[in-house]
């Protein structure tokens, strides 16, 4: 049963991708992709229910089911459902506007479910080598999605994205190789030396010097994929140029998958070299990322880049929560990732319609959205309120918990710096959003079209966003279980 639940999240999107490639009809393809996202979320849910027997393995440790796997599958599925469904309307608009050829539509429809499948593979993997390969595959798959719109800006973004992420991920491979080497040297049989379970058992006997080098490389490498400094510069370009549903997936889950890859090996590294090493690295990287994002938000003139920098800000927060590493911080981290994913999906989908209407992503070009389209306006208002961590949304709860865990860990200076940076970021985003939403609309401003599939996706997102603010429901127990796996003991 567990084997099936681990294989389906990869097999279903793969089948959807194949179907899309053969048929080439984008409506059916998007529905199949959405069905695949539902299956991913459902498998995550079922794994969460059978948590008692965790961790469980399939194919001799190649795949692994535990609470963390289930959590990530639920996050991928939850963000994937609205993002793939909105793809129906997105492609219909592109085709109607003459911006797309049948060939590009076919590739889009094929690559989106393939992207979901690669992310699912990264999280169900119990082998850090396989996780690495899956994370790298997401880069290759999304390269053409980022460049989908063609044109100078899109191609430039795609090139930078592939080059920067490939370098980052190559460094993560070097880190993985060194960890493997340290494990083999500690007497672990070579065929199991990349299995996370085996590594956890032998973590105490890994050579500290080699493991430290490996940890540094893994932090920088997977950090690139999670949008963390120093390999962050692809993020704003790629997020602003990719089609709206793809931006939603990249911001909502791809960044989280990058962070997951690091979280998976964190307990091994903590046991081998002590908790101080990664904590220091994550704190520096996390704070620097939040600081850069906050500064970029203040002077921002482009609303899609504004959303991208807000993603960086939130991933920096995730890194800081991971640095603290207590159970409270880890539960907050997981809630933060899920709530951010849903809210950012809303925002990117809404922004996509604004871009379609105005033909521009300049903040100055957009005024009075709330008066022109109630649905887009409300979705944006809720999304922004959620990502800047206003109550009663999920991110408010997670940010407060992260702050509390920082205080408990006596990292007061980090807390102080973080508070100032978050206020700056809040001010930057809130001011721009208010002018976009409420300003007096230009009398000849274009109408904002809202395709029915997009309206459905936005409605689902709004409900999920609000629901998560009120209660975590059964997710609370799951997050606690997942936090126990990655939290620093004691």
């Amino acid at each position: 049963m567990t084997t099936l639940l681990l294989v389906l999240p990869v097999a279903a999107p793969a089948a959807a991708a194949l179907l899309a490639f053969i048929s080439g009809r984008h409506r059916q393809a998007a529905m199949a992709a959405c069905a695949a996202a539902v299956i991913i979320a459902a498998c995550g849910g079922l794994l969460a229910v059978s948590q008692a027997s965790m961790p469980d393995h399939a194919f001799g440790g190649l795949l692994r089911a535990d609470a963390l796997t289930a959590t990530l599958l639920i996050i991928i599925g939850t963000v994937g459902i609205p993002a793939t469904w909105a793809g129906i309307g997105y492609l219909a608009q592109e085709i109607a506007g003459g911006h797309s050829t049948p060939r590009r539509v076919r590739w889009y429809s094929t690559l989106v479910p393939a992207f979901l499948g690669a992310m699912a593979l990264a999280v169900v993997s119990g082998n850090i080598g396989l996780t690495w390969a899956a994370v790298e595959a997401t880069t290759v798959i999304t390269a053409f999605l980022v460049g989908h719109r063609r044109g100078r800006a899109a191609l430039e973004a795609a090139w930078k994205y592939v080059v920067i992420c490939s370098v980052g991920i190559a460094l993560a491979l070097l880190g993985t190789v060194l960890l493997y080497f340290a494990a083999v040297h500690a007497g672990v049989p070579a065929e199991h030396a990349l299995d996370i379970e085996t590594l956890l058992h032998h973590a105490g006997s890994l050579d500290p010097a080699v493991t430290r080098t490996a940890a540094g490389l893994l932090l920088i490498g997977y950090g690139a994929k999670a949008g963390l400094i120093p390999f962050h510069s692809w993020l704003a370009d790629a997020h602003s140029q990719a089609p709206a549903p793809v931006s939603a997936l990249m911001s909502g889950v791809l960044l989280a998958v990058g962070a997951f890859a690091l979280l998976r090996v964190k307990p091994v590294i903590d046991m081998a070299v002590g908790t101080g090493f990664l904590r220091g690295g994550l704190l520096v990287v996390g704070l620097a990322t939040v600081a850069l994002a906050a500064l970029m938000l203040v002077g921002q003139t482009d609303y899609k880049r504004m959303l991208a920098y807000s993603s960086m800000e939130n991933m920096g927060l995730v890194a800081i929560a991971a640095a603290v590493g207590s159970r409270l911080a880890m539960v907050a981290l997981l809630l933060h990732v899920l709530a951010h994913g849903i809210a950012k999906t809303l925002l990117f989908l809404a922004a996509g319609q604004l871009q379609h209407a105005h033909g521009s992503t300049a903040i100055a070009a957009v005024r009075g959205v709330l008066a022109r389209s109630r649905l887009i306006g409300v979705a944006m208002a809720i999304g922004v309120a959620a990502v800047v961590a206003l109550p009663p949304f999920g991110l408010f709860g997670s940010v407060v918990s992260i702050a509390r865990s920082l205080a408990e860990a006596r990292l007061i200076w980090v807390l102080a710096a973080l508070a100032i940076l978050l206020v700056i970021a809040f001010a930057g985003m809130a001011e721009r959003t208010v002018t976009m939403l409420l300003g007096n609309p230009d009398p000849d401003a274009p109408a904002i079209a809202v395709p029915r599939s997009l309206a459905t996706a936005l409605a689902v997102g709004v409900i999920a966003c609000v629901a998560l603010g009120i209660t975590m429901g059964p997710l609370g127990g799951l997050f606690a279980g997942a936090a126990d796996i990655v939290a620093v003991p004691g």
């Binding site: 080598g129 396989l130 690495w132 390969a133 790298e136 595959a137 880069t139 290759v140 390269a143 053409f144 460049g147 063609r150 044109g151 100078r152 800006a153 191609l155 430039e156 973004a157 795609a158 090139w159 930078k160 592939v162 080059v163 490939s166 370098v167 190559a170 491979l173 070097l174 993985t176 190789v177 060194l178 493997y180 080497f181 340290a182 083999v184 040297h185 070579a190 065929e191 030396a193 990349l194 050579d207 010097a209 080699v210 080098t213 704003a236 370009d237 602003s240 140029q241 970029m296 002077g299 921002q300 880049r305």
Partner: protein, 220 residues
């Protein structure tokens, strides 16, 4: 514990990896860079083949042959197609950092990597043999090349050099990671190179050039 002759041949292959990397920093003709990359692929493939022959392991030798086909033939060919697509630019343009300064930085990077490699080499065989340090230097030189070259193709060469270095370290330390990971990694490199090739040509069609410093549309 490896025998004396094996150590010498392995060190020679590692040295060839490093030498080609330094030459890539020195040369600016795109064709010469691709040719040097091919030589580097041969040196890289020599590592598992030498070890496989000494230990009489057919598996290692065949992995070496796969590496040879991929890195000394397929990948350079993909890149070479990009060079022929260049009608105007067959040379790396005006450098960000001059050749002499680049070579000095390269020397510093080599010293740094030898220092970094010491604990790793000690754990590997208890000696101070230079092989790991040499190949680690290839990784750093590749990063440096990618940061300072302007042409799309040069950046692709830098990326493949980076990957050669990492694979080289894997072979030196562990006779390669498990086959499934090695295959996955090779496939990924192949796909990344194909993607870079396709994007590179699209860039040239759109921008009329592959000078990545012209990529200035996106900025804050």
């Amino acid at each position: 514990m490896p025998g004396q002759t094996e150590t010498v041949t392995v060190t020679t292959a590692a040295g060839a990896l490093l030498l080609t990397a330094v030459l890539i920093v020195w040369r600016r003709e795109l064709r010469a860079m691709v040719l040097l990359l091919t030589c580097q692929g041969v040196a890289l493939a020599a590592l598992p083949i030498i070890e496989g022959m000494q230990r009489a392991e057919a598996g290692l030798v065949s992995i070496g042959l796969v590496v040879l086909t991929l890195r000394a033939a397929v990948l350079p060919l993909v890149l070479a197609r990009l060079v022929t697509a260049h009608s105007t630019a067959r040379r790396e343009g005006r450098p960000v950092i001059g050749t002499v300064a680049s070579l000095l930085v390269t020397a510093l990077l080599i010293v740094l990597s030898f220092a970094m490699a010491r604990p790793i080499q000690r754990l590997a065989d208890g000696t101070d043999a230079p092989a790991v340090g040499m190949v680690l230097a290839v990784v750093f030189i590749a990063l440096f090349t990618m940061a300072t070259r302007r042409r799309a193709l040069s950046q692709a060469v830098g990326f493949l050099m980076l990957d050669n270095g990492i694979t080289g370290i894997a072979f030196l330390l562990t006779s390669g990671v498990p086959v499934i990971v090695e295959l996955g990694a090779s496939l990924d490199v192949l796909f990344v190179t194909l993607v870079l090739g396709l994007l590179g040509r699209a860039l040239q069609r759109t921008f009329g050039d592959t000078d990545t410093h012209r990529l200035r549309e996106l900025r804050d």
